[in-house]
C-alpha cells in the first residue's frame, strides 16, 4: 500500500484558491496565476533603476567636480542643470523626452531615434538625467566634507591635483556619500513607477495591466505595492551591509 506523496504546494494553492473564491473580497489566486507578468515587471523596474543610477553617476561625478572646483561658467551650467531637473516632476521630464521630442522631424531623422523610439530607453534616459541631477548635489556634499588636511597632505607628498582627486579625494568623498546614495536609489525606485505611464511594463505596469484585463479596481495595485515593499526591504538590508563594510575604518574597533 502506498500513500500519495504529500504535496504542500498543491495544498497551499487549493487553500488560496478556495479562500479567494469563498471569503476574500480580493482574488489572490488571480494575482498569483499572473506571476510571470509581475516577474517581467520586476525585471524592468530593476534594470531601469540600475541603469539610471549607474549612468546617472557617470554624468554626475564630473559635474560635481566642476561644481566643487567652482570652474566659472561650467560650474554655473552644471548648477542650472541640477536646478531644472531637481525642480520639476520626473513624470513631466519623461513625457517631454517620450512625447515631446518625438514630435520633431529632426529628432526622428537623427541617429538617436533608434533609442528614442523605444519607450524603455526613453524611461532609462529620463531616470539617468533625473538621478544625475540629484547625484551631483550628493557628490558635491561628499567632496565638501573631505577634510582640508587630507587634501593638504596629498599636495605635501607631491601629488598633482588630478592624482589627488582620483586616488584620495574621490574615494574618500564617495564613501561619505554612501548613505545618501542609498536614499537616492530608493527615491529612484519610487520614481521609476512612472514608467508604467509610458507603456513600459514595470511592477506597477503589470498591476495596471492585470486591473485592465479583468476590470479590477485595485488588486493589481495591491500586488505591486507588496512587491515594492519587499524590494525596498531587500535593498535597505543590502545597503546597510555595504555601508557597514565600507565605513568600517571610521568605526571604533571595539567589536
Amino acid at each position: 500500500m502506498t500513500l500519495a506523496a504529500p504535496d504542500p504546494v498543491a495544498d497551499l494553492w487549493a487553500l488560496i484558491a478556495a479562500f479567494s473564491a469563498d471569503r476574500s473580497p480580493i482574488d489572490f489566486a488571480l494575482i498569483l496565476t499572473h506571476w510571470p507578468m509581475f516577474l517581467e515587471g520586476l525585471g524592468n523596474t530593476l534594470l531601469l533603476v540600475l541603469f539610471g543610477l549607474s549612468f546617472g553617476a557617470l554624468i554626475a561625478l564630473p559635474l560635481a567636480v566642476l561644481r566643487w572646483w567652482r570652474i566659472p561658467v561650467a560650474s554655473q551650467l552644471a548648477g542650472a542643470f541640477v536646478y531644472v531637473f531637481r525642480g520639476t516632476p520626473l513624470l513631466v521630464q519623461a513625457y517631454l523626452i517620450y512625447y515631446g521630442l518625438a514630435q520633431f522631424e529632426v529628432v526622428r531623422d537623427s541617429p538617436f531615434w533608434i533609442i528614442l523610439r523605444e519607450p524603455w530607453w526613453c524611461c532609462a534616459i529620463a531616470f539617468t538625467i533625473n538621478s544625475a541631477a540629484y547625484q551631483v548635489e550628493i557628490y558635491r556634499g561628499g567632496l565638501d566634507a573631505v577634510p582640508r588636511g587630507e587634501i593638504e597632505a596629498a599636495t605635501a607628498i607631491g601629488m598633482t591635483p588630478g592624482m589627488a582627486l582620483r586616488r584620495l579625494i574621490l574615494p574618500s568623498a564617495l564613501r561619505r556619500c554612501l548613505p545618501m546614495l542609498g536614499n537616492e536609489s530608493i527615491f529612484l525606485l519610487h520614481g521609476s513607477a512612472i514608467a508604467s505611464m509610458l507603456t513600459v511594463i514595470d511592477i506597477l505596469g503589470a498591476g495596471r495591466k492585470l486591473n485592465a484585463e479583468y476590470y479590477l479596481a485595485f488588486e493589481g495595485f495591491l500586488a505591486a505595492t507588496v512587491i515594492y515593499m519587499a524590494l525596498v526591504w531587500a535593498i535597505t538590508r543590502v545597503l546597510a551591509r555595504v555601508e557597514r563594510r565600507t565605513m568600517r575604518h571610521l568605526h571604533p574597533l571595539t567589536r
Binding site: Y99, A102, Q103, T199, R208, K209, N211, A212, Y215
Partner: protein, 258 residues
C-alpha cells in the same frame, strides 16, 4: 485637552464638507474619457465635447436630469463605476460579454466597425502574417487589445492610455499601425494634411466577441430603473429625430446602425 470623540466628529464633518457629497436628486453622473476625438474631447475652454458628450446631454434632457461629467482614465472607468464614483459610462464603450460580467449595458446607441490604420506605403496587410513582428498600438483595456491577442498573436502590441497617444506614436513612427474604431480613425486621417500618408488597411473589421454588439451606456448591474429610463430615452432620441440631427452634424450620416 481636546475631546477625542469631538475630534473625530469634526474630522468627519470636514470630510463631508470638502468632498464627500451625497448624490443630488435629478443629477446623472456621467463618466467620459477624453483623448478620443470626435467622441470624447477636452475643449480649449476646459469644457467637454464630442458626440458622446452631446448625446449624453440629449439623454439627460429626455430623462429630466442634469448631466454631471467626470473625465477618467479609460482603464479605470469600469472600476470607478463599480466604486460608485458615477452612475453611467457614456464613452463609446462596446457591449462585450466580458464587460457584461462586471456591468450592464443599455441598448446600443451606435454601431461601427474597427479598422487598422498604417502608412499607405508600408506594404502592410491587416492579417496575422502581415502584422507578425510589427508593432501595433491600441488603447489599453479595449476590445482592440482582445482582438489582437486572439487574431494576431505574433504582432507586438503596445497599449496606450488613450488613442491620441497611440496616434502620436504612429505619427512619430514608433509603431507601424493602430487598431481603432473606424469613425475616430477616419476623423484622425482627415484632421491634418500630414496624415495623408496614412490610410485604412484591409477594410472594416466586425467582431462581436471583442468589439461587442454595438456601443452602449454602461451602468451598474441591478439598477433596472435607471436602465429602463436610459433605454426609453435612447428610443425617444431615435423617434424625435434629435439623434439623427446630432449624428448628421458630427459625421454627415446616421451611425445608429440597424
Amino acid at each position: 485637552m481636546l475631546n477625542r470623540r469631538s475630534l473625530f466628529a469634526s474630522a468627519a464633518a470636514l470630510l463631508t464638507l470638502l468632498g464627500a457629497q451625497a448624490q443630488a436628486e435629478g443629477v446623472l453622473r456621467v463618466a467620459i474619457s477624453t483623448g478620443y476625438p470626435p467622441f470624447n474631447v477636452l475643449n480649449a475652454d476646459g469644457t467637454f465635447g464630442g458626440f458622446d458628450v452631446d448625446y449624453a446631454l440629449l439623454l439627460c434632457e429626455r430623462m429630466q436630469k442634469t448631466c454631471e461629467f467626470t473625465d477618467i482614465e479609460w482603464d479605470g472607468i469600469i472600476p470607478g463605476l463599480l466604486a460608485n464614483r458615477y452612475d453611467v459610462i457614456i464613452a463609446s464603450m462596446g457591449i462585450t460579454e466580458e464587460r457584461k460580467q462586471q456591468i450592464t449595458f443599455s441598448n446600443p446607441y451606435y454601431q461601427t466597425p474597427s479598422t487598422v490604420i498604417a502608412r499607405a506605403d508600408a506594404g502592410l496587410t491587416a492579417d496575422a502574417a502581415g502584422l507578425a513582428g510589427r508593432t501595433i498600438g491600441v488603447q489599453r483595456a479595449t476590445g482592440h487589445e482582445c482582438y489582437i491577442q486572439r487574431e494576431w498573436g505574433e504582432a507586438d502590441m503596445r497599449s496606450y492610455p488613450t488613442t491620441d497617444e497611440a496616434y502620436l506614436d504612429l505619427l512619430a513612427g514608433r509603431i507601424d499601425a493602430v487598431l481603432v474604431d473606424s469613425i475616430p480613425g477616419q476623423d484622425w486621417l482627415a484632421s491634418d494634411p500630414a496624415h495623408a500618408v496614412f490610410a485604412p488597411v484591409g477594410g472594416d473589421i466586425y467582431d462581436t466577441e471583442c468589439f461587442g454588439a454595438g456601443t452602449g451606456v454602461g451602468l451598474r448591474q441591478g439598477e433596472t430603473e435607471l436602465l429602463d429610463a436610459l433605454n426609453a430615452a435612447i428610443q425617444l432620441t431615435r423617434e424625435d429625430g434629435s439623434y439623427v440631427a446630432l449624428s448628421e452634424r458630427y459625421f454627415g450620416r446616421d451611425i445608429y446602425g440597424q
